[in-house]
Symmetry: C3
Subunit: 146 residues, 3 copies
């Protein structure tokens, strides 16, 4: 069991890490997003699509997904996280479980689409003093668990 | 006035406490939610319903409320907190005032209902090193103050 | 580069600061909101409106904006922040970049309007041990960058 200051430091670090990570994704910087994963990282972002593996694989999957889904459309996505539950594990990994809403703004439309609501489970590790995502699994609240 | 590190520790602890508390509620674990209150805790969650008292009373009230409102319907609720304002009081209690949105996903419907918007006031205490809610009062933004 | 505890303290302080600042704004306490800026503070809250300057100027701008937009209407606004990215700068200022949603509840309407989605860039400074906003710039996701 970590002491309070250690737990506090970790909590704020995960928040800052998530903020930088998702601002990269929402800016379309898919390589920068992929580099927040470990080299062998796993990312399962949508039910029905296979998990992407490795930084190169994650960046490739995201580029394809965005091309298919938002082809040519001027949109701004924002991923919001909430209710962050951080649990250090005996093996040194960090489990973070939190809520996510995906927000989509279209040019000229003041009211964004807010959907879907998700539960995300991250396994985080510290490598060379830097937090990284080893695996991320996204479950959608409106779909049966996969 | 606490020093900065004490205030920081408390801020992150309240965030972690709220995350665990609400993930329990949103998983339908009403007894686990009730156990995040003090034994004599008070929970006033909806205008027009009397406050629930004691852990047993809070768990009972939640079971009844969910049965009435979502009977048989496969829904996933998520409570989101934001703009957490934590103020230590001279008597040792902690006042937390924050915004809440209740999010409801229905099976097969990608766009969740997000309503209502609320203001919540918690009185928190530390018992045996553990944060607990002594009282929680929820006011709905679309209703006149009760 | 600050050590971890310093970075953690700052992160939680900015969250607490934003919570108090926006609870003041959403309560209609425009003078209290303006006092969270430096005396020479700048606030650019809507595209197409000129930036407001100085505490007196910011309070005046907000009073006019609210009178024009919500004249006589009983509404409750809530500003939600998310994905807070805090970066200390070599010059001692603090850059905070984060997402914002504006939520508007009307009396008797359970479902609030949630719009627009924004990106906000704050420059914060510490004066006499107190965090203050030196400048805040709001960009709306559905409008072309100004």
């Amino acid at each position: 069991m970590p002491d309070t200051t250690t737990a506090t430091d970790l909590y704020a670090r995960v928040q800052q890490f998530h903020a930088e990570q998702m601002q990269a994704l929402d800016s379309g910087e898919f390589d920068r997003y992929a580099n927040t994963f470990t080299e062998d990282g796993e990312f399962r972002h949508s039910p029905g699509r296979p998990a992407a593996h490795t930084r190169a694989g994650i960046a490739k999957e995201l580029k394809e997904f965005h091309r298919e889904r938002f082809a040519g459309e001027p949109v701004q996505r924002r991923h919001w996280f909430n209710m962050l539950n951080v649990q250090e594990q005996p093996d040194g990994t960090i489990h973070a479980t939190f809520y996510v809403l995906a927000i989509l703004s279209r040019l000229g439309e003041r009211v964004p689409e807010i959907a879907p609501s998700c539960l995300v489970r991250d396994v985080l590790v510290v490598e060379n003093g830097r937090l990284l995502t080893r695996s991320r699994r996204v479950d959608h609240d409106h779909l049966p668990p996969s």
